[in-house]
């Protein structure tokens, strides 16, 4: 019998059936058309690059110049019309200065954001963490920081055909100046560094060259991160009777150590040679603590180069006249431009074409002069400057005085199992 409830039920179910049919028809239609819509969107959309930078966490201070350099490069490329008619879009991932977050961010950028390639990570520990991710996903990573060189032992963080090194390694940053330092200050080295891969392997390479010039290592100390007191380290240095303190501490430990080193009056008795303390750290230290130290990198804000003057003008126009730039920021800037050049040369955006065209690519407008990415081992050929921190400096303009420089230092081949990469 057709009761009221029966009627309602039938009406409801008929309505719901019709609704469902319409919905599924719509969905089928959309899903059939979807690839077409998506594909056309991709083809006209921007080229996406994932930037992994330490924007928060212990090394926030380095993150600024790191990301600023890349942003400036991308801005310039986009202002000139982009690459292959497409703009470059930066998708930022904050590494929080932690290698495990780097893995998370790299995965997110690659799988969720679908970036075409990655740029950044800051420390060697972060890069080594990103290594397996970029290998399995087959994406290129542009790495800017001065680092310890490539040893097969640390694959896939190094010796990885997908990772390109835009910063100097010890045979470029340290070796060229070994003769000058040992000749002028003595042959006994005391090595003090933070306890992780970069200082350890850098020291290994430095020892090789030191032995060549007849020097010796009278002390080697590795300090865990966030160590506040250095009295035992300072005592060991005093007792070692070293001539040169070879310094690879980083983060807040470098400031802690250098302040206490100067407070104990030891800067009068030893020469400090640091391969970590660039403009940002030296500004933080202040003139009293930093004066007299020797610093070596491929780039300083005060190097005399027409490219550099123009670059700094554009940099300050965008980020303010007090903004700081350093070797890492410049490497990121070079990486952005060279990636764009490689893509233009290839005519398309794929990992393989990007990799092939970055190899042996030169960039004329780098702030430190023409630079070339050596294809054999993905290492950039760079100049090398040795600077001394001036007494009583007042700003980045007079912070460093040049001791010597080499326009181009060809690095020793990477120690990888099979070259070319």
């Amino acid at each position: 019998m057709r009761t009221k409830s029966n009627l309602t039920m039938t009406a409801c179910s008929r309505r719901s059936v019709l609704k469902n049919l319409a919905l599924s028809a719509g969905l089928t239609g959309v899903s059939l058309a979807a690839p077409g819509i998506l594909r056309s969107a991709r083809a006209e959309g921007p080229i996406k690059v994932g930037l992994i930078s330490p924007l928060t966490g212990a090394w926030t201070v380095y993150g600024k110049a790191h990301s600023a350099g890349f942003e400036l490069g991308v801005d310039e490329i986009n202002a000139a019309g982009g690459v292959l008619g497409r703009k470059i879009e930066i998708v930022v991932g904050d590494s929080k200065t932690e290698p495990r977050i780097v893995v998370e961010q790299a995965n997110r950028l690659i799988r969720q954001e679908q970036v075409d390639f990655l740029a950044g990570t800051f420390s060697s520990a972060e890069r080594n963490a990103a290594g397996p991710v970029v290998t399995s996903a087959n994406k290129v990573l542009l790495y800017p920081t001065f680092y310890e060189g490539q040893e097969q032992e640390y694959f896939p963080g190094v010796c990885n055909k997908n990772i390109f090194m835009f910063g100097p390694e010890p045979t470029q940053q340290v070796w060229p100046h070994m003769e000058y330092m040992t000749k002028n200050f003595g042959k006994k080295f005391f090595m003090i560094g933070s306890d992780y891969v970069w200082p350890r392997v850098t020291n290994k390479f430095t020892k090789e060259k030191l032995k060549e010039v007849g020097g010796e290592v009278v002390g080697e100390l590795y300090i865990p991160f966030n160590t506040p007191q250095y009295d035992s380290a300072l005592r060991q240095i005093r007792e070692s009777k070293a001539n040169i303190i070879f310094h690879t501490l980083t983060g807040s430990d470098t400031v802690n150590f250098r302040k206490q080193y100067v407070a104990a009056g030891m800067n009068k008795d030893f020469t400090l040679w640091t391969v970590d303390d660039e403009e940002v750290v030296t500004s933080g230290l202040g003139p009293d603590v930093s004066a007299g130290a020797y610093v070596s990198f491929d780039y300083f804000m005060t190097i005399k180069n027409p490219n550099n003057e123009a670059f700094l003008k554009r940099f300050r126009a965008k980020f303010g006249k007090d903004a700081l730039m350093n070797t890492v920021g410049v490497a990121m800037y070079n990486a952005a431009h060279m990636a764009a050049l490689a893509i233009k040369k290839a005519g398309k955006v794929t990992t393989d074409s990007l990799r092939e065209n970055l190899k042996d690519l030169s960039f004329e407008m780098a702030p430190q002069g023409k630079v070339t990415m050596r294809g054999r081992d993905n290492q950039m050929v760079l100049p090398s400057y040795l600077m001394k921190v001036r007494q009583g400096w007042t700003g980045v303009g007079d912070m460093f005085e040049e001791v010597q420089h080499f326009d181009s230092v060809t690095p020793v081949d990477a120690r990888c199992k099979s070259l070319p990469l």
Binding site: P224, N226, S232, R238, K259, A263
Partner: protein, 284 residues
Amino acid sequence: MNTALSVLVDSTLITFVFALAALGLAVVFGLMGVINMGHGAMLTLGAYFTWFATTAGIPFAPSVLLAAVGVGVIGLGLEHFVIRYFYDRPFETLLLTWGFFLITTEIIKIVFGTDLRTVENPLPGAVVFGTVVLPAYKSMVAFTSLLILVGLALLLFRTTLGIKIRALVQNAEAASLLGLNIGLTYKMVFVAGAFIAGLAGALISPMLSVDPYIGNIFLVRSFFVVIVGGIGQVLAGTLIGSFLIGGSETLFALFSGQVVAQTIVFALAIVVLRFRPAGILRTR
């Protein structure tokens, strides 16, 4: 022999520096049972306020005092609006003070920026006797720490206020029945703890990099100092705890690398707590 003397001197200086850093926590946690996870943040604030004042042209000593007062005021606010409702709930105070640390750190980054800051050493130079090196500033800080410890001892054991505070710690209910204004006394003790933490951060700032996490290096160590020294033993306990956590590291570093020395120190702390759970100097 000379090395032994130099090690002893280094060890002593460090012990007093650590004692100063831990004293604020010894007062707040040791006396009142408030698990102050924001202790590190108070140290950091002390350091930043000092940086701000010295960059504004104020000489060092007044800057330090201003910084300590500033942190004391912040401690007062924290106590009045938050902590005083939770004196008998340790887990809640743990969470609340950790929240305070997180919020404070982010506010510091916003207000003071994330660039590396530095406070100039007002007493550069060192006095050298053979192999014994006495950095002038560090010695001054150690001496100040000693003065504060002695001052606090005199306060607690020789004044009426001290009696009131000790009564409060022993038995708050009985003390209030006898007419003690426990709300006000709690406030004073907490603010004193915050003031001392700010002072410690300010005095330590010329020796370290001033960044948003500077205080946290001392947070865990301070807790160890207070627990190993004996909760409630604000003076002797803090000194003994500081020696074990700070000074002994200098001794161990003589024979081994830094990592091993730091590990041994914490392992030793665990061993001590295994056999003396209430700390080395137990409260009677």
